[in-house]
């Protein structure tokens, strides 16, 4: 029994060590992050991103500090080379891009993001979420955004196939998406960063816990009584021995 407990304890310590190492070693400047809208979406189909056209998506961010958007891409074997450009705007009609990122098709790789959740390891090497990261948008909570993708081809690519973008039917999607305004939505995930301080954790917990002071009082009493009873029972047993 004691041995088993020791093993469980050791495993827990290893686990904590791994997680802590993850925090220290991860390369992004956004130390904490979580996936929000669209995560774990099962992609229903992919559609080609045709030259001269763009594929876009409106969404409402549910949390502050939006810092990453991942879009599902499918890269055919004989893919048309060129640049995949991601634009993020306040709305479809906004003149200015909040974010603009381009990536060469040949540079697209299965990502290894520490905030991927679930791990998307079942995805094939040519089908994955392509993540774009940017400086956290501090006031993103509740704000509507629009992102779109366009493809700028290199010359002499007529026989190759265009890159494909994943999409899902509106009712099934975007977990957390407050506005499903289109019959189809792009398969995408967003990640938000946690920008608090360690002290905030205790502060927020205490605030949330004390919102219901009636319960917190009863609960606290219950825990104290149980602990005292347990100590009493343990000491009584020791005394007898």
């Amino acid at each position: 029994m004691a041995k088993n407990l020791l093993i469980v304890l050791s495993l827990a310590i290893v686990y904590f060590f791994l997680c802590a190492s993850g925090v220290v070693l991860q390369r992004s400047k956004n130390r904490f992050a979580f996936q929000d809208i669209g995560s774990a979406v099962k992609v229903e189909e992919t559609i080609p991103l045709i030259i001269g056209q763009s594929l876009g998506q409106r969404f409402v961010s549910n949390f502050p500090h939006l810092f990453s958007i991942g879009v599902f891409v499918s890269v055919p074997e004989k893919v048309m080379e060129g640049e995949l450009v991601f634009h993020l705007k306040d709305s479809p009609t906004a003149a200015v891009d909040l974010v603009r990122r381009g990536v060469k098709i040949s540079d697209l790789r299965v990502p290894m993001k520490y905030y991927q959740s679930p791990l998307q390891t079942d995805l094939k090497t040519r089908q994955f979420y392509h993540y774009v990261e940017f400086d956290p948008l501090t006031d993103s909570n509740g704000k509507e955004y629009y992102f779109y993708l366009e493809f700028l081809p290199e010359r002499g690519q007529e026989k190759s196939q265009p890159i494909q973008i994943g999409r899902v039917k509106a009712p099934e999607i975007p977990r957390g998406l407050r506005k499903a305004t289109q019959p189809w939505n792009l398969a995408f995930v967003t990640a938000c960063a946690w920008k608090g301080k360690w002290q905030d954790v205790v502060g927020v917990f205490w605030k949330r816990f004390n919102q219901d002071s009636e319960f917190s009082g009863v609960y606290f009493t219950l825990i104290v009584m149980l602990t005292l009873a347990l100590i009493g029972a343990t000491f009584a047993g020791l005394k007898r021995k």
Binding site: M1, L11, F32, F34, N62, F63, L119, D122
Partner: protein, 428 residues
């Protein structure tokens, strides 16, 4: 000089009391602060319709009220049982209606993860609700522990089972942290083992049918109990009759009311989510199952039922797990039977530990089943904490390969466990 039986009993009771207090303390510390997506609120939302609006046929209510909704409720026993508890709990939850209104708005429109539910329910007495929603589980949890002690051969084994049950990580994770209904069918399957051991196979069969009408898996154990507990065909037919009558008594009123919709609570859960898998897997499981039935038939009435029945229950679950059909949290189903087995065969405990570690790597990926369970405490913080796989991912390790290796190793451990449990007959 040795202790008298009376002193031994006193010591036994004192130890049980101590471990009960420790078990309660652990559970109380988990209960108000953990949740997993919409699971717990989903379990209570529909029974709330029973006590609030008098909706007794939930299987008609769901498609009528929420057309296109892809889920149905658990079995009727779960519905009425939770409704019964909620009838009393609602007096302590004045903001429950408000919480369910918010919940409804999300569940049937946009879904969401734990971080969403923990955020928007934070203003509606979330900790109190989580705590009270999990209180009924305590009854089934401790009743299971009671039966485990009763099923053990002697006080020493009984104490071992009780201690292990109080610290059972699978149960604490699935039932108290995730908030799933597992406590009820687990109690009913252990109760079935207890009654079968006392020679009351009919009560055991009813327990399993009731359990199956909460979550489907106890149905698999009915034929095993019937085959092992009956001496002749007549007795066997009688027991199957008891099973059928108790099943129909509960299902027929719903069938007359809403047609085949009620069957979704069995078929959708069993056929779609759990008994899927390739043809080979299914064929292998069916073969193994029939082999176990044959074994039960051979062993029928030859000796004391409990060890053989425990062995057979375990083998059914282990075969099920071997075929990749049992995810990490469903290993909880076999945990009481494993604990009984480990109390006699300690080496099996080592196999279990390794298996748990490997299956955790395979099935517990993602923040929502790890740190994310603590989202009610501070949603965005706990949803953001890296898990072990985050470290591996950021370090460039091939996660897919690691998971594949873990999966293959877990299969090997399962085969070894099946072999060991099969040979367990000698030990028992």
């Amino acid at each position: 000089m040795g202790k008298s039986p009376k002193e031994n009993d006193k010591d036994f009771n004192r130890t049980i009391l101590k471990w009960t207090l420790l078990g309660l303390l652990i559970r109380f510390l988990i209960m108000p602060f953990t949740m997993h997506t919409f699971d717990l609120f989903f379990i209570y939302y529909f029974p709330f319709q029973l006590i609030d609006k008098g909706v007794w046929d939930i299987y008609r209510f769901i498609p009528e009220q929420f057309p296109g909704f892809h889920l149905t409720y658990y079995g009727p026993v779960a519905y009425f049982l939770i409704g019964f508890f909620l009838f009393f709990l609602k007096f302590f939850l004045p903001q429950l209606g408000n919480a369910f209104e918010l919940f409804e708005g999300w569940l049937f429109t946009s879904g969401g993860g734990t971080v969403h539910y923990a955020s928007f329910l934070g203003e509606s007495q979330l900790f109190r609700t989580l705590f009270l929603f999990k209180v009924p589980y305590l009854i089934f949890d401790f009743a299971t522990a009671f039966f485990l002690v009763k099923l053990a051969h002697n006080q020493k084994e009984g104490l071992f089972c009780y201690r292990l049950w109080m610290l059972n990580p699978l149960f604490l994770h699935s039932v108290y942290a995730i908030g799933q209904l597992e406590a009820v069918p687990i109690f009913l399957t252990v109760a079935a083992l207890y009654w079968a051991n006392l020679g009351r196979a009919d009560v055991a069969v009813v327990c399993l049918i009731l359990g199956g009408l909460v979550k489907v898996y106890p149905f698999f154990l009915v034929p095993i109990v019937v085959f092992l507990s009956s001496r002749d065909v007549k007795e066997r037919m009688r027991l199957f009759g008891v099973a059928l009558v108790s099943l129909l008594l509960i299902l027929l009123p719903f069938y007359f009311s809403s047609g085949a919709a009620v069957m979704d609570c069995i078929m959708a859960k069993a056929a779609v989510s759990q008994v899927v898998g390739g043809t080979f897997r299914r064929a292998f499981f069916i073969l193994a199952y029939f082999f176990l039935l044959l074994y039960a038939h051979r062993m029928a009435a030859k000796r004391e039922n409990a060890p053989i029945l425990n062995q057979l229950f375990l083998l059914v679950f282990l075969f099920y797990a071997l075929l990749g059909l049992l995810k990490f949290r469903y290993l909880t189903w076999l945990s009481p039977f494993l604990i009984l087995a480990i109390s006699r065969d300690r080496r099996l405990g080592w196999f279990c530990l390794v298996l748990l570690a490997l299956m955790a790597e395979v099935h517990l990926s993602g923040n929502q089943v790890q740190w994310g369970l603590l989202d009610p405490v501070y949603p965005t913080f706990f949803a953001s904490l890296p898990i072990s796989d985050s470290f591996l991912a950021s370090g460039g390790f091939p996660l897919g390969v690691i998971q594949q290796i873990s999966y293959r190793l877990s299969l090997m451990i399962l085969v070894a466990m099946i072999y060991r449990v099969w040979k367990w007959q000698r030990i028992s």
